[in-house]
């Protein structure tokens, strides 16, 4: 293995280094694991420790995370209690102390539980391409993720959900934590007892986090009664394309995701 570490000094200089084949290392849980297995072993690693991307800001109803904010830091922040179950479902404490928000956006399935949650929260991803910073809705980011690997994710922001409107569930083979069999993050705003503007995101049900549009439509304008929940559960796998892996088969994931959605909605 022949690699050189370079500490990035300015955000705008990072994409040019990436264009030359340098690889970004954020927390190390993905990139260094790849290096350990001989992937991307020759070249330059860029570390982002000095760029000030490790801050959490909550201003009014908007939260912004620098890309280097770790799961452990979010799990310690009392203003973000609704995200604590998400953070605490990712790895053990050592992984949480290292894994970053920015890295999680690039985590391949069945990883990326925070990315699924950010998709449910309709987050906005700020990316620097070397010339300027641009904001992308998270769904656009996922569609263009391959292309955007040559840019630097700077921050992630979203509007804080109304109290009790965000729900999260992760099915695993080994409790309390393991890679996902299926992850569900749901934003369920309600007006007059009816769901308005639901966003349901699934992890481990595609190559990256995906929306369950048909299940969302089944909830729209309805109260969360048993008939509505059954209708949404019947649609939940319609937009999904899960894969077989060591944790579950695609068939199994399709079988269990309606059950986990029904439990989450009925909770």
């Amino acid at each position: 293995m022949s690699v050189m570490l370079e500490a990035a000094r300015q955000i705008r200089l990072v994409p040019a280094l990436q264009a030359k084949g340098a690889m970004i290392v954020a927390g190390g849980t993905l990139a260094v694991a790849e290096l350990n297995y001989g992937q991307g072993a020759d070249g330059t690693l860029i570390i982002l420790d000095r760029l000030g991307l490790d801050r959490i800001a909550v201003v009014g109803k908007k939260a912004t995370f620098g890309a280097m904010v770790t799961m452990a830091e979010i799990a310690r922040d009392r203003r973000l209690k609704f995200l604590h179950p998400v953070c605490n479902s990712i790895g053990g404490p050592a992984v949480r102390a290292m894994a970053t928000i920015g890295g999680n956006l690039f985590a391949p399935a069945p990883y990326g539980d925070m990315a699924a949650s950010l998709l449910a929260l309709d987050a906005e991803i700020t990316i620097h391409d070397g010339k300027s910073a641009k904001k992308y809705p998270i769904e656009v980011f996922f569609r263009q993720r391959k292309k955007l690997e040559r840019c630097l994710v700077v921050s992630v922001s979203f509007t804080l959900p109304a109290s009790g409107s965000f729900r999260y569930s992760k099915a695993v083979r080994r409790k309390p934590v393991s890679a996902s069999v299926v992850t569900i993050a749901a934003l369920l705003p309600r007006r007059g007892g009816k769901v308005v503007g639901a966003r349901i995101a699934l992890g481990a049900m595609g190559s990256h986090a995906i929306r369950a549009y048909k299940a969302e439509a089944a909830l729209e304008g309805r109260s969360l009664d048993s008939a509505t929940i059954a209708a949404a559960a019947a649609q939940i796998a319609e937009d999904a394309s899960p894969a077989d892996d060591a944790y579950a088969s695609a068939w199994y994931r399709r079988q269990v995701v309606p059950i986990h959605l029904a439990r989450l909605l009925a909770a």
Partner: protein
């Protein structure tokens, strides 16, 4: 291979080393410093065998680049024993048969130590969470959980005595 200088505090002692650029902390601990108690397991962050404590937090040394450790305080299990006396966690693991093959034990104890350093009265669920990233294929975990709770009790008693 390019060599780079790293300086960190390891088990309360200053370390100044030239290491291969891009090498992991695990490789430096085992290959350069001869601290073999930090185990090399999966090399991908799944098993927890390589857990060390860096600046008070548990970290996976297999996924930590040594160069990023400059200026940091690192604790391995060799740093827990004081003047030949075992740490209460080590004592509790021994007395409670919480180790069988022993491969996971250093990582388990350091994961538990980072919990007890910030929470002296952990619940059973706290202990389970603390060791949730560490895999043991021998014990079934119950003796480990019991040992951590016993060590916490012992440490509380010692603190009370010395207060």
């Amino acid at each position: 291979m390019t060599k780079v200088a790293v300086q960190f505090t390891l088990n309360d002692e200053e370390q100044n080393e030239f290491v291969d650029s891009g090498s992991t902390l695990l490789a430096v601990l085992r290959g350069k410093l001869g601290l073999y108690s930090t185990k090399a397991g999966c090399h991908q962050g799944s098993c927890g065998a390589c857990t060390v404590i860096i600046d008070g937090e548990p970290r996976l040394s297999c996924l930590t680049l040594a160069q990023r450790c400059t200026g940091r305080m690192i604790t391995t299990i060799e740093g827990l024993t004081r003047d030949g006396a075992l740490h209460p966690l080590q004592q509790a693991f021994m007395e409670g048969f919480a180790a069988q093959c022993g491969f996971c034990t250093p990582g388990m104890i350091l994961a538990a130590k980072s919990l007890l350093d910030r929470n002296q009265s952990p619940s059973r669920d706290d202990v389970i969470d603390a060791i949730s990233g560490n895999i043991c294929r021998c014990t079934g975990y119950e003796p480990i959980i019991a040992a951590v709770l016993a060590a916490a009790e012992q440490m509380r008693a010692e603190m009370k005595k010395s207060a």
